[in-house]
Amino acid sequence: MISTAGYGPALIIACMALVTLLARFGGVFIMGLIPLNRRVEGFINGMAGSVLIAVLVPIALQADAGGRLALLATGALMLWLKQPMPAIALGIAVAALYRAL
């Protein structure tokens, strides 16, 4: 336990910042220790897309109907136009519109 009087908070936050920075650097550092072959590259490629999906899963699970419609609209426009910004804008507009009605 650290008291939040005096320099306590600054110390706590500095420790948090250090841990977060280690997480930011750590992935690249660890990969530097592993020889890059086809299997490792396959692992990295498989991981890249699934991290995106894994970030999405709880967002979709927790979303209300408006939020899920937003994801659906973004996904549909993305498959059609392949342009992220219009797809995101449509998704947000759909969520706002659905919730306003």
């Binding site: 650290i2 991290v51 894994a54 709880p58 937003a70 998704g91």
Partner: protein, 234 residues
């Protein structure tokens, strides 16, 4: 296939990345404002709030810190929670390694200082589709960092500046952005299989495993699919 030339990290590329991610970053400011307001209500001093947003720069971990904040703060549980929430950054950094390995080590690590969900996704999308630049990672990261900090300050001074962010769909910005990045890349049976495995593992982890393990579980499951199902030689 993959370039063996080091990705570009020039001022012009960073400026381009900055402007590309700025529209999304403005929504990040709304979350920053929510954090600034919550931190004031938790009783953090103004300097500490700004110090945290500037140096930690990780929204979910910062909100989790507020939950543990009091007259006494349990340091070790706080740091374990911080690491668990930010463990996704380990995987995100690792996915950039094939390109970052080509950059001198000083620039390699400097370009990871502002690594977060949105600028990672955009940078990876650029690199995978043959745009050999780190502009979105660094310039986009600076845009996110500045708006996160500006949002924090606004929340401390004026409270949440959007009365009900949900009414405007602001809570779906990150979800829609991540989905658009996932669908922007090239797809094949192998990448879709990795998505399905990753999505299922993340779902299972979210339901059954401790909080904040879903990204790591999903990433590792997708990675296993990628390691076992290799692309044919061209």
């Amino acid at each position: 296939m993959r370039s063996t030339v080091a990705p570009i990290l020039s001022f012009a590329e960073c400026r381009r990345g900055f402007w590309r991610l700025l529209p999304l970053s403005l929504f990040v400011a709304a979350f920053g404002a929510a954090f600034g307001l919550a931190a004031v209500q938790t009783g953090l001093q103004p300097f500490d709030i700004v110090f945290m947003s500037a140096t930690v720069f990780a929204g979910t971990a910062q909100f989790a810190a507020l939950d543990l904040w009091g007259a006494q703060v349990p340091l070790l549980p706080l740091l374990v929670t911080t690491l668990a929430i930010n463990a996704r950054m380990l995987l995100m950094g690792a996915t950039l390694y094939p390109w970052l390995a080509l950059v001198p080590s000083g620039r390699r690590y400097a370009s990871l200082v502002t690594l977060s969900d949105a600028n990672w996704a955009m940078a990876l999308n650029d690199l995978q589709s043959g745009r050999n630049t780190l502009g979105a990672l660094v310039g986009g990261g600076i845009a996110l960092w500045l708006t996160w900090l500006a949002g924090t300050l606004a929340g401390m001074l004026f409270g949440g500046f959007i009365a009900d962010p949900r009414a405007f769909g602001v809570d779906m910005v990150l979800g829609c952005f991540m989905l658009s990045m996932a669908l922007a890349g090239r797809r094949n049976a192998r990448s879709v299989a990795a998505w399905v495995a990753g999505g299922a593992a993340a779902w299972a982890a979210w339901v059954w495993l401790p909080a904040n393990t879903h990204v790591v579980a999903g990433g590792l499951a997708g990675g296993l699919v990628g390691a076992l199902w290799l692309e044919r030689d061209q």
